[in-house]
Symmetry: C2
Subunit: 151 residues, 2 copies
DNA sequence: CCTATACCGTACTGAATTGGTCCCATTTTA
DNA sequence: TAAAATGGGACCAATTCAGTACGGTATAGG
């Protein structure tokens, strides 16, 4: 099972790409090319991200997209939530009211805790980090590699 | 967005219910009634859990299901994986080979770390804990109750 | 030995979600 | 005024998923 939808996945990739070129104003077409993702879908994702205030679009000739805020102030949680909606582990995490079992079901508090752990993990990573070239993680051979391999 | 499929959600509920009555041998029908879940679907989930070696079924009159192992030795991660398959955050977490971006995409190592955090969180909770009555969380009146009631 | 019970495996269906595309309006630059 | 680009929809095909149904097999009890 894969947690993120493809759209959210794309969103993160595209946003990270924007983050790694803060100076450039990039069109949906350019972004699609450089990330090797389907163009129309990238355009769709960008609209969603723009709606959420994560990227800012400029219309007209010479227009395109840029991050609306500093890459270091945008978390993965925000990007994912913009596209897939608020995350929740179990049904009752989101549709708590409509759960007939809520009174006697013992699982709820546990799901809530796991929810928070996931939320925290996604909130802890910013687009700035996400945009760091993989080299930054694999270049220094021994120590660093071991560290990232067993976090 | 909800992470677990309904089936996996059901699986956890049913397994936890079995865990809370270790002595009883319960039929699919009984489990469905007591958890207030659709009967046929519960039966389906139980088959999957049996296949994964989490519950053990006994055929024939007087048959039914029981946990195949001690509730304290079965983690949520195991139950969820049995039904929804191995968990992965992004596409590349699971279909790494088919990702054309793998060479230059900087997001991979981050996803991997988040993956592990989620896996750890799910592995840390056992069916024994999951089966603890909500009372165990709300019994102590003031402090405890307030904590669980405002999620 | 026979019957009722209950799991096992699997196939099927209807519905919902999702990835992806397309079109048209609006804005901006040249 | 024309070209370039986002904005905002609607739309479609395909996959996935929840839920059901059915025939087969094993077990207990009389």
């Amino acid at each position: 099972m894969i947690i993120l939808s493809k759209l959210a996945d794309y969103g993160v990739i595209v946003a990270a790409h924007l983050a790694s070129h803060p100076e450039r104003m990039m069109t949906a077409g350019t972004l699609a090319q450089e990330t090797r993702l389907p163009r129309a879908t990238v355009a769709k994702v960008l609209k969603t991200l723009a709606h959420a205030g994560i990227v800012a679009g400029s219309r007209g000739a010479g227009g395109g997209y840029r991050l609306a805020r500093a890459a270091s102030s945008v978390s993965l949680a925000e990007v994912v939530a913009a596209i897939d909606g608020a995350i929740g582990v179990a049904q009752c995490s989101v549709h708590a009211h409509s759960c007939e079992r809520s009174e006697f079901c013992p699982t709820r508090p546990h799901w809530r805790r796991i929810n928070e752990i996931i939320g925290t993990a996604l909130s802890a990573v910013t687009l700035a980090e996400m945009a760091l070239a993989p080299r930054a993680f694999t270049a220094e051979p021994a120590a660093r590699a071991a560290e990232t391999r067993a976090p």
